[in-house]
Symmetry: C2
Subunit: 344 residues, 2 copies
Amino acid sequence: MQRPTIKTIAQETGLSIATVSKALKHSPQVRPETRAIVIEAATRVGYELNMHGVQLRTGKTYQVAAIMTAPGPKQNEWEGVEYAQLLSGISWALEDSPYRVSLYAVRNFEESQAVIKQIVSLKKADGIIISGTRADDPRIRTMQAADFPFVTYGTSIHNAPHAYVDADNEQMIRVSMARLVERGHRRIALLNPLSELSYGITRLEAYKRALEVAGLPYDPALVAHGRLTPAFGRENVLTMSELSNAPTAYICANEASALGAFSGFHERGLVHGRDAVINATDDLNVSQYFAPPITTYYLPISEPSSLLGAYILRRMEGEPPEALQTLLMPNLIERCDDRLNPNR
Amino acid sequence: MQRPTIKTIAQETGLSIATVSKALKHSPQVRPETRAIVIEAATRVGYELNMHGVQLRTGKTYQVAAIMTAPGPKQNEWEGVEYAQLLSGISWALEDSPYRVSLYAVRNFEESQAVIKQIVSLKKADGIIISGTRADDPRIRTMQAADFPFVTYGTSIHNAPHAYVDADNEQMIRVSMARLVERGHRRIALLNPLSELSYGITRLEAYKRALEVAGLPYDPALVAHGRLTPAFGRENVLTMSELSNAPTAYICANEASALGAFSGFHERGLVHGRDAVINATDDLNVSQYFAPPITTYYLPISEPSSLLGAYILRRMEGEPPEALQTLLMPNLIERCDDRLNPNR
DNA sequence: ATGCACGATAAAAACGTTTAACTTTCTTGT
DNA sequence: ACAAGAAAGTTAAACGTTTTTATCGTGCAT
């Protein structure tokens, strides 16, 4: 017993396969009564569309490529863990569509560039979702040049307008700096992502501007750029806390680096709240379990991820990218008062 | 300028498309010289196999479905983060094959059952990788009944033999219990995954056996089953530490629950090493950044994940499942001496 | 020489769908 | 009453492969 095709339905109803095909996709060329007959037969025989036929005929793949940059297998650091939730969010957003998420794990930026070129030139997917955008991102240029639908998690700075979703890093840094300054802090450290990443730049600029507004000097020794691992947070606390003029507050770009910062505190015998405080951006709501729980700017990762899914669908439908740009402001969750300790 | 097909090569070489097809797949029916001509023409015109044609003709999808159970979007807990690494490991293992990882995110067990039935009956993939196996897993029965290639991350107990990869939970619990007992602990808590999961059962049995060997009584109040979130670890420490006869050691099934256990320590004013100790299973090498770092049984998730990829490939080639079963013993990483504090 | 097997290639069909082009029937306005 | 046009359906081709079957020389034994 073979799987039924439109041919089966055609025989069953006495119609031609063309009519069946049209009926199933609600073409106005077929009468409602005829369509009803076709639908009835289809459900009766348990018909399911065979995508391979469609794909060959139309050239569409019904795949959305998710490019996931994760460090190589030997690299045992807690990094990129939020990808799991990101991917599931995207997958759920595509649930009611015929599209599937196809995973492309790459080790670094160069590999992601190569993979994207391949997907675009060989049409291995109908849309692409990338993250880790740079100020001037060559992958974006590749996709734009080929007029290929894509959405980025993260903004770019020098590229032509495109669809994106991102946290509102500028506002977040502005708000968090103002809050810390208001609480008496004068030496605030910024643990930032890799400097080539677009949001690293955005955050740094916002940081500098906030210092200016507060009338505080900019000290490069209080800014670090790197892969946002616990090791990164730890090492920077270890070095910065040894400065003659050590920071009294650390702003960490994610929860992994914040965890590492805590590890640095422990190593140096620093006590959170007494010697310095840590604030962080949090995607996974894990900072509430730190000891002590810290103040975070929390953006549940399900929000950007479902937007990414929705946007790539709309982009593939042909919607212009300008309509598909969103900055999400994370929620401030105050778990400490974070005031500067006057007798530290 | 269209993308070249085998027809292009046929015209280019004067051969028939049949011969070109055979030459490209190294059929013995075609002479080496002819094959050379074909290969040359193929590279010259930049030919790439069009999978849609292959898929329609052969019925193969060249997709490996990875079923990822993640809590729904509203559920903001740190859970399942190791999936990111798991997926990238699988993806890399398939890198040199024509197969791609297709992601199926599901919210719960029932959904995963439904999704698998669909994949199997509609042949939406050539192989499936699942995790979170149960003692008697209906999904495994579904796939076995349809003779569908699959590999599980986690063993089963009552199912017929199948391909799997898992940590050696039995040995791990035996070793860690012996080590804690040797260090003077008499009240050891077990923070276990959901009781219906196969490895939850394995761990519990091993735990009971270890108690028996050590001549210690089994106390159900020291065993908890649940979703391995930080909240779970925290809550159980909060309740267990209030027992008249509180545990002096906690064995946590993953790093998320261990983090939560620390949060519980902090809340109760317990000090690690003085009042009790925490040991954990760690996939992501994150426990080293806890304050203090704790002793873990560390299995870099890249190992099982690349095995999963390798096994599903071999399974799809027809290799019998019995040859594709591996238990991996995690490495003990001692970061504390974990001795029972006599004057606690 | 004749027939036969064999090796190498060609021809053709098939996988399941969409869609351009065509046919038939029915409406409608004059 | 009749041409024009719309409505509804059919025919046939096409997408790019693989694979079964057919064809055609060529070398070999008889």
